[in-house]
């Protein structure tokens, strides 16, 4: 290591200051949330803080969209944006808010479950800050966030995170991961409070089925799969059959009992709801991806993943067509429809009838853009 003269050091310091100032707008812009459109089926819109008032005014508060039907039935909760860097779950929730109508039962949608995760990106991942979906009226931009709560909102991380309920230990940064924080704590750190609010929402609103939408890398073993709490396995099996009939290849796994903090485990244990998580696959989540930008988030094409697939290193097939966002969102929407229909099969009193939600084939055929409202 060598020292540098004072004048050159001062120049470097000034350069660093300029770079920091020049980049500031890019970071602060992420604090303005995407504008979502209330669709015709939305009957009420409220904030998560109405469940847990301590969240009011914090970066963890988020919009909750309520779509109530004319006839009685079950209640379906759909969570998108648990992880801000998994756009298919977020966009599927947005499509539900903008297009779904509920004929029977009730649908509650939280598109940005961890709103703080949408205000930053994970350092060294080089993710885009936003990506565009081409609608007939032009591109509509969405935020590409991070897996965990913004460290500006919750800091410092402990070196080791010990889950409050199970005592299980995880790497410290996982304390900011909403899907490791359930059932949450009312007096915990921000992420634990968000988790607590979601769990209480399930209890208070008597949710019949809670569905958490995710994406994972193509090398991850639990991918293109439904993970269900043991009480929800019959329901999930019915939904999986429906999905297979619709042409959606999907696996089914029971939620491991040894893994604490996860939605499909803790919601099922702590509430009366059927708890289910769905995973699609996306190369921008993975470690083998090449150039990383907004185009990759949308196209889902990557030549390194193609090569890895030829060597049988992946959990899903990966061809030149990749895994485009339309396919990934279509899988989640088809999943929501299949679960809603299957609830009625198990218990007619809990039936949920949805209309206006595009089916799997329709999303694939038309693409995602024509199904979304234009940028406003």
């Amino acid at each position: 290591m060598t020292s540098i003269p004072a004048a050159r050091g001062a120049a470097l310091l000034a350069l660093a200051g300029l770079a920091a100032l020049a980049s500031a707008p890019a970071f602060t812009r992420m604090r303005t949330p995407d504008r979502l459109v209330r669709g015709p089926g939305v009957t009420a819109q409220w904030r998560l803080s109405s469940i847990h008032p301590a969240l009011a005014g914090t970066p963890g508060d988020t919009d909750v969209f309520d779509l109530a039907g004319g006839r009685p039935g079950g209640t379906l909760l759909v969570l998108g944006g648990t992880h801000g860097d998994e756009p298919a779950g977020y966009l599927a929730a947005v499509v539900l808010v903008e297009r779904a109508r509920v004929e029977a039962g009730r649908l509650i949608v939280i598109p940005r479950a961890n709103a703080s995760g949408f205000t930053h990106n994970v350092a060294q991942e080089g993710h885009p800050q936003r990506f565009a979906i081409d609608t007939p009226a032009g591109p509509r931009w969405f935020t590409f966030g991070a897996r965990a709560t913004n460290p500006v909102d919750e800091w410092p991380d402990p070196l080791v995170y010990r889950l409050a309920r199970s005592g299980q230990t995880l790497a410290g940064s996982e304390r900011r991961n909403l899907n490791r924080a359930y059932p949450g704590r009312p007096d915990g750190r921000l992420t634990e409070q968000i988790a607590h609010a979601v769990t209480q929402l399930i209890v208070r609103e008597r949710v019949t089925l809670a569905l958490d939408l995710h994406e994972a890398s193509p090398e991850y073993p639990v991918v293109n799969t439904i993970v269900a709490h043991q009480r929800a396995m019959d329901l999930a099996a019915l939904a999986a059959v429906r999905l297979q009939e619709a042409g959606v290849e999907i696996g089914l796994e029971e939620s491991p009992r040894a893994l604490g903090g996860l939605s499909h485990r803790e919601w099922g244990d702590a509430t009366g709801a059927y708890a289910v998580l769905m995973e699609t696959t996306s190369p921008i989540q993975g470690r083998l991806r090449g150039r990383t930008d907004g185009a990759l988030a949308v196209s889902g094409r990557d030549r390194f993943y193609e090569a890895a697939s030829r060597r049988n290193r992946l959990s899903v097939p990966f061809g030149p067509e990749g895994w485009p966002i339309a396919v990934r969102v279509a899988r989640h929407l088809a999943g929501a429809l299949a679960f809603a229909a299957s609830l009625g099969d198990l218990d007619p009193a809990s039936a949920i009838e949805l209309s206006g939600v595009p089916g799997y084939e329709e999303v694939i055929a038309r693409g995602l853009g024509p199904l979304m409202e234009p940028e406003r």
């Binding site: 290591m1 060598t2 020292s3 540098i4 470097l12 770079a19 920091a20 020049a22 980049s23 890019a26 970071f27 990106n121 350092a123 060294q124 991942e125 080089g126 800050q129 410092p156 991380d157 402990p158 070196l159 080791v160 010990r162 409050a164 299980q168 230990t169 995880l170 790497a171 410290g172 996982e174 090398e219 991850y220 073993p221 639990v222 491991p256 040894a258 893994l259 470690r287 083998l288 991806r289 090449g290 150039r291 990383t292 930008d293 990557d302 390194f304 090569a307 890895a308 060597r311 290193r313």
Partner: protein, 440 residues
């Protein structure tokens, strides 16, 4: 990258490795040829990588990447302040003198004991940095005072830090690798102990061999940096130990009683302990010590800042993915060798980063064997990353603790011990099913 509106000039066929070559070339040219500081050279390499991809103003990525290691930098700065307070206040000399008087004549007993002391902070925090910084200035002078050369003493501290990070109960790379496949952090104690404790004993005797052979420790005491230690000290030993004990308590308590004691992080633990050292010591120039401690860590902080920006641009431009894909392209029989080389090498930029970026894919490619033993072995390889250039954080900080200006002199002493750890890990990877059965 699109900013600047310039066309990318990286070749169309192989843009990722070509970009990586440009980045490494610029870094090496500036660091080696122009003798620029390593951190600044890394930043320049990162900028060059973005520029050949058409982004002349990649400030968002440079800033975002540069903040990757903010937490480790805070740990290092505050730990250095703690160390300075111990040394400048005189507590350190008192402790060193006491240890030398009681155990200096029995190096066969003293060496393993000192190794455990060095490893302990890493074992409870999962951080080699914490180990080296918390114990380096205490254990290093003891070893030098007994007659060991400074390079060997620093190597023992650096290796102890890395082994403490690997050893149970807390191994963060293992947690990161396990979480990549939803493997709970359960059942890791035995394989991690196997990967660390036998190697620790072997390494401390190997590096401390001159002491075992000559038994000349006491005679060499005259040259001890803290020479005043053997003379009348202004301290009682317990008073001198107040600050180190406070540091140990602040590190252990949140882990031992997580529901009762909040964990506010290592920086606060080190600052409180430094304050304790100031209170129990005779008056000394606290401001001068603070400035000196900050100056000591600036080069290391610069390297970590540069490394963060470098990795960020490497990821954006696809170089990181190309490297990972290259490693995983190895045939099944060569996977163990590929892991033994690439996981520590990538750990050069961050042991935790290597665990996530390479450790998880390697574990996935070895599924169906014993996943716990495999993850433990991979975490051990990732831990070795703290000895790899350009950051070589464990060796760099150990060299600083011993006042060695050229860290390569320490790194040379670490080569064989690190190879021994890598061999143990490779054997665990190769025979993970058998080792798993044996351990249970």
């Amino acid at each position: 990258m699109t900013a600047g509106g310039l066309p990318a000039i990286a070749p169309a066929g192989w843009p990722e490795p070509a970009t990586l070559a440009v980045m490494l070339g610029v870094f090496a040219a500036l660091a080696v040829w122009r003798r620029w500081p390593i951190g600044v050279s890394l930043l320049a390499g990162a900028w060059a990588g973005a520029a050949v991809n058409g982004d002349l103003l990649p400030h968002r990525h440079l800033i975002e990447g540069a903040f990757s290691y903010l937490d480790p930098i805070l740990v290092i700065v505050t730990a250095m302040i703690f160390m300075r307070a111990l040394a400048d206040g005189g507590a350190l000399a008192c402790i060193v003198g006491a240890v030398e008087r009681r155990l200096g004549g029995r190096p066969a007993l003293l060496l393993p004991m000192l190794m455990v002391i060095v490893m302990f902070p890493g074992m409870v925090t999962g951080s080699s940095t914490a180990s080296v910084l918390a114990t380096g200035t205490m254990v290093g002078p003891v070893l030098v005072g007994l007659g060991l050369c400074a390079e060997r003493a620093a190597a023992i501290i650096a290796m102890g830090g890395v082994l403490g990070m690997i050893a149970p109960p807390i191994n963060i790379p293992a947690m990161i690798i396990g979480s990549g496949i939803d493997l709970p952090y359960v059942g890791f104690a035995a394989p991690l102990a196997l990967a660390s404790f036998p190697a620790a004993l072997l390494i401390v005797y190997w590096l401390g061999w001159p002491l075992l052979r000559q038994r000349a420790g006491r005679a060499a005491m005259a040259g001890l940096a803290g020479a005043g230690a053997t003379a009348a000290s202004p301290f009682s030993l317990w008073r001198a130990l107040a600050a180190p004990l406070a540091a140990a308590a602040l590190m252990i308590a949140p882990r031992a009683w997580p529901s009762a004691v909040p964990d506010y992080g290592l920086p606060l633990a080190f600052l409180i302990s430094a304050a304790v050292a100031v209170v129990v010591s005779p008056r000394f120039g606290v401001v001068r010590s603070l400035v000196a401690a900050t100056e000591d860590v600036l080069p290391v902080a610069g390297i970590l800042t540069g490394v963060g920006a470098f990795i960020q641009v490497m990821t954006v431009t696809g170089g990181r993915g190309w490297l990972v894909a290259l490693m995983l392209a190895a045939p099944a029989w060569a996977l163990v060798g590929a892991a033994a080389v690439s996981v520590p090498a990538f750990g050069a930029v961050s042991a935790f980063g290597s665990a996530s970026v390479l450790g998880v894919p390697f574990l996935l490619s070895m599924l169906g064997r014993d996943e716990v033993v495999t993850a433990a072995a991979l975490s051990s390889l990732a831990g070795l990353g703290d000895l790899m250039l350009p950051a070589a954080i464990a060796a760099t900080l150990a060299a600083r603790a011993l006042g060695i200006s050229d860290r390569r002199r320490v790194l040379r002493r670490c080569v064989l011990p690190a190879a021994a750890i890598a061999l143990v890990a490779a054997a665990m990877l190769a025979w993970s099913p058998q080792i798993g059965r044996w351990l249970r």
